[in-house]
């Protein structure tokens, strides 16, 4: 089985982002960037399937600026075999990401696409579902457990009321949720080895994809700030405040 893992370079999850003073966008100058955490979970899952001999090749793909090569190297260090960088300086929105991925899939014929449920920068939570629609493949979104029995998959999904299990055939699109696994740290020898692994570089144009800005950013603002509250010494006082003053209990 061949697995494709789309990975996105995003602001590190520990960074508290600032908005630019002209409200044109967020300020990404000198900010730490990392692989989207959900995509790390996807890479980890693919590597575990490879370790169980259920997969023989893992291709990581990213769409983004030349710097996204770092993100691919991270995927290669965790255990992907090969990388594809679709290089563009433009902002690529989920539908176009999905269209690019469809072209890559046509060329590489993976049996499974493992990807994040959500990129933590745009918080869109769309790309996997869109890709699945474009390909007419089944979708197993927000997965917390994946079982492979031959050509069939059982996908346990995290839904609002609890968990749900679906059965689907490969090829399929799976998007990861937090509980699917705990990603490993890449070891130093593996980071060194990753430098030798192949990365193919192409552009959206090579795939005949035109990048459209369907959603136009008009303004980016900081949300209203909360007034700092007060510290209270006793539970008795707290209950009094909530009951007598705030009238919420």
């Amino acid at each position: 089985m061949k697995i494709l893992v789309p990975v996105k370079r995003v602001v590190d999850y520990n960074v508290k982002i600032k908005v630019k003073s002209d409200n044109s966008n967020v300020d990404l100058e000198n900010v730490k960037m990392s692989m989207n955490p959900f995509d790390e979970i996807a890479v980890e899952e693919a590597v575990r399937l490879k370790e169980k001999k259920l997969c023989n090749e893992i291709i990581a793909i990213t769409i983004g600026s030349a710097k996204s090569e770092e993100t691919l190297r991270t995927a290669l260090a965790i255990g992907a075999d090969k990388g594809i960088l679709v290089e563009t300086e433009e902002e690529v929105q989920p539908l176009e990401v999905a269209k690019i991925l469809r072209e890559i899939i046509k060329k590489n014929n993976p049996d499974l696409v493992l990807m994040g449920k959500q990129a933590i920068d745009d918080d869109s939570n769309q790309t996997g579902q869109m890709l699945s629609a474009l390909l007419e493949w089944p979708q197993g979104t927000f997965a917390s457990k994946l079982e492979i029995n031959g050509k069939k998959l059982n996908v346990t999904r995290e839904i609002d009321g609890g968990l749900e299990t679906l059965e689907m055939a490969i090829p399929a699109i799976i998007t990861t949720d937090l509980r699917l696994n705990e990603p490993r740290y890449a070891s130093l020898p593996n980071i060194m080895k990753a430098k030798q692994k192949p990365i193919e570089k192409i552009t959206p144009k090579d795939l005949n994809i035109e990048i459209k800005q369907r959603l136009k950013t008009l303004e980016v603002k900081e949300p209203p700030k909360k007034q700092a509250g007060i510290k209270i010494d006793s539970v008795q006082e707290l209950v009094k405040k909530l009951h007598d003053e705030e009238k919420v209990i």
Partner: protein, 314 residues
Amino acid sequence: MSVLVLIEHDNQSLKLSSLNTITAAKKIDKSVHAIILGENCSKVAEELSKCQDIEEIFISENNIYKNHIAENIAPTIVELANKYSHILAPSSTFGKNIMPRIAALLDVAQISDIISVENNDTFIRPIYAGNANLKVQSKDSKKIITVRTTNFEASKLDGGNTKITKIENKKDAGLSKFLKNELNKSDRPELTSAGIIISGGRGMESGKNFNLLEEVADKLKAAVGASRAAVDAGFVPNDYQVGQTGKVVAPELYIAVGISGAIQHLAGMKDSKIIVAINKDEEAPIFQVADYGIVGDLFKILPELSKELDKIKS
């Protein structure tokens, strides 16, 4: 053109999220239609027909819709789409799963998780875990939208008598099959619609210790939530998780117990009206968003809180 709302329900009754979504739809256009896809779900349509904000209800009942399989629902909605300028659903796991599929089939973008309608093509949505709000204009001919329900009041179910029209069923896409679910039954209010929420974090130390929270929750008729750390540690089920990638809540009162206040957690609860934090570390970032903070050991404070609540009730 009218606006269509895809109704979230469990075949028995309407989810409140649908009523919040109807309010958002109404801000886009006066004419709002609703579609109900499910199995033996006529009760849902009857319930919804009382809503005066809807002009017409369409319902299709078929086994293929019973478990809200996205691959079956999306093509049915796409078939109806040419009559509508906008299609909306709540940004619950139901809406998040289905709507991008509809958008891709229509070759348009999706606008995720809107918190405000500026006009019929411009919306505001949070990005970067709610650390920024993006005002975005859609240039597509059709707008596919998911709605952050906490930012829109629920439309009322009073006095309406909306027409219900049955529509034809589509064929099973045959891509995914529902096997089973494990839904967490609880007598407590649902997290996303509760007036009061008390959430526990890693500081709770075990699932058993959540009893302390539940005791307080019972007295306040509150829902119980959790941080990711508490869910990952197995203290409570996944659907308790509040945050950027869990549930977004905005109750009248949110009590965070043994939760540090990571940005990802704050993203899911910072719009609560009153926030109370109980944490032994006075430097914990949760205190920066709390209206009232108590620095101390939760294992001492929770039983005290429970006792004090008895006093005000009597």
